[in-house]
């Protein structure tokens, strides 16, 4: 019995180094990307992650065009493209009447179109699939160090800006009235989001990386009332989804990125039903109420 469990749940990671590396990378990503997702939802920017993941694409494409399937080149290219899009959107919102979300929506679509054109000029469909949906086989030691580095950096920066960011999300006019600049905070925060999306694109792919950021974040909000609990809960859910997703993708031979996201999605559906702020507790509590 115990042997069976070992065979199913642990042996694949024991046997294959690439799976081990993918697991470590996913868990590292879970510790930084999922809390960022919670903060995004709190700022009513849930769809920003999605937009930014598309914005990263032209950079990845340029890296791919210039250096072929070099992970370093594509990572750096993607990061730069994301930063440029965030900065342009920030400048537009500052100097025109457009709000940040509207300008980001415009800029990322432009970036995405450019990216697709660039990729179609060279390369095959298969390359595009790899970039969009990732491949666990691709995680080498260098990639692992990148993900771990990004996760560490994100957590440190997030810890440093935690109080300011909270105040800026909760009561921006109060922060502005005290003379602090909210724009720089927002830009730094979005830079972290880009960094995590780029770090995730090896294991999960550019588009799927958002899933690990947002799905656990949304579910965590259904379980917990306070922010620290939500941040921790989202990380745990993301790590669980990463582990189970990798395991399933190995056993039933499916692409790792989408499988991990489907696992996060199953956790989300479960949360929708059973979490304290979900549907079932509401249904059960409707019958009874307190006296005061």
């Amino acid at each position: 019995m115990i042997g069976d469990i070992y065979q199913f749940a642990l042996a694949p990671f024991h046997e294959f180094a690439f799976l081990r590396r993918a697991l470590v990378a996913t868990i590292a990503l879970a510790t930084s990307a999922a809390p960022l997702g919670v903060l995004l939802t709190l700022r009513r920017m849930s769809l920003f992650g999605d937009a930014l993941s598309h914005a990263v694409l032209p950079g990845v494409a340029v890296g791919f065009l210039l250096f072929g399937l070099s992970l370093t080149a594509m990572t750096i290219g993607g990061f730069l493209a994301g930063i440029v899009v965030v900065m342009i959107a920030g400048l537009i919102s500052r100097y025109t009447e457009l709000k940040e979300d509207a300008s980001l929506a415009a800029i990322y679509l432009l970036a995405l179109a450019l990216g697709v054109i660039l990729i179609s000029r060279r390369g095959t469909q298969l390359d595009l699939l790899h970039i969009l949906f990732g491949s666990v086989l691709g995680v080498d030691i260098g990639g692992l160090l990148l993900v771990a580095g990004v996760a560490t950096f994100s957590m440190l920066v997030l810890a440093a800006m935690y109080r300011s960011l909270l105040l800026e999300s909760f009561d921006p006019s109060y922060l502005a009235a005290s003379g602090s600049r909210g724009l720089l905070l927002q830009q730094t925060f979005l830079m972290l989001v880009v960094l995590n999306l780029v770090a995730g694109f090896q294991t999960l792919g550019t588009l799927m990386a958002v899933g690990l950021m947002m799905l656990p974040a949304v579910s965590a909000r259904l379980w917990h009332d306070t922010l620290p609990a939500q941040l921790l809960g989202s990380t745990l859910q993301a790590a669980c989804a990463g582990y189970v997703g990798l395991l399933l993708s190995y056993h039933i031979d499916t692409p790792s990125g989408p499988t991990i996201i489907v696992c996060a999605g199953v956790l989300y559906l479960g949360s929708l039903l059973f979490a304290p702020r979900g549907w079932l507790p509401r249904l059960l509590q409707r019958q009874s109420h307190l006296q005061g």
Binding site: L42, A160, M161, R163, S164, L166, L167, S169, F170, D171, P172, S173, Y174, L175, A176, A177, S178, G179, R221, H224, D225, T226, L227, Q230
Partner: protein, 275 residues
């Protein structure tokens, strides 16, 4: 209520500031001076050539119809909005200004405890990294008592009613220990009991020598509690002693001014010369 607020001050040893403020009142120092101030949105002025001053230690109501530029005035004093012409000079340390925006600007569903929300009142002291000592936490507890929210510190702000949440924001202002306090429609959508209690706090803050400016719509409230009034309708209709300002004639003027909106208004010549 006055003694309570004073006690909160004394706990953290702010009596020094109170004395300084009292000296300022004696000299009738100007805290905010507006000089020919114009602020426009899409070239239509929300504030049009406003001049005047708020004295230190004064308690002023800013009133006028919707769109009269009341909130714009506050935001300009805080330099949150660009000016088209004229100037605003504020003779108060930025760290000693408290601003209560309209409630709609605050994210009420944010998962934050009442206690933590109030402790944000120390932001100007602590900044993003400073620690909050146990003395400061104690002072926060007494501020919570002063606004009538004993035992609420572990509640989420999302679970509070509009009136309770406004009390929380007032507790935060008590902690800010500000010299200049700007309240934008503090009693909007608040029941009469809460309004009376919060009004008492406003008066207590005034009696401690702080300069308080509040945007209000209730004329009876303005007449009975606020010694000074600024009646605004893009222009200054009247500014001074409340009894002199809140006359039927002035109020009629303010109403007429706000209703006159001209999409094709000609360029204001004075604006060109000053710009």
């Amino acid at each position: 209520m006055a003694s309570l607020a004073a006690r909160i001050d004394n706990i953290a040893g702010y009596s020094c500031a109170v004395v300084e403020r009292a000296m300022g009142i004696g000299r009738r120092v100007t805290v905010v001076r507006l000089d020919d101030l114009t602020v426009a949105f899409r070239r239509h002025p929300a504030l049009h050539h406003i001049s005047g001053q708020f004295r230190q230690g004064s308690l002023t109501a800013v009133t006028g119809p919707n769109g009269a530029g009341k909130s714009t005035l506050f935001k300009t004093i805080l330099s949150l909005l660009p000016r088209n012409s004229g100037s605003v000079s504020v003779a108060a340390d930025r760290k000693r200004i408290a601003y209560l925006p309209q409630q709609s600007e605050i994210e009420r569903s944010f998962p934050i405890l009442v206690r933590d929300c109030i402790l944000l009142g120390y932001w100007q002291q602590t900044g993003p990294f400073g620690t909050i000592s146990s003395a400061l936490i104690k002072r926060a507890e007494s501020a919570l008592n002063a606004v009538g929210l004993q035992g609420f510190s572990r509640r989420l702000i999302g679970s509070l009613s509009a009136g309770q949440f406004q009390r929380v924001l007032f507790a935060r202002i008590l902690l800010q220990d500000a010299d200049l306090i700007l309240l934008d429609e503090p009693f909007n959508a608040i029941d009469s009991k809460t309004t009376i209690e919060l009004l008492r706090i406003v008066i207590a803050l005034h009696q401690e020598g702080r300069t308080v400016i509040a945007v209000l719509h209730d004329h009876a409230q303005v007449r009975s509690h606020f010694p000074q009034t600024l009646l605004l309708a893009r222009n200054v209709i009247a500014w001074g002693e409340t009894a002199m300002v809140m006359t039927d004639d002035h109020l009629r003027q303010a109403k007429a001014m706000a209703e006159a909106w001209d999409e094709n208004a000609p360029l204001c010549e004075t604006m060109i010369t000053t710009a």
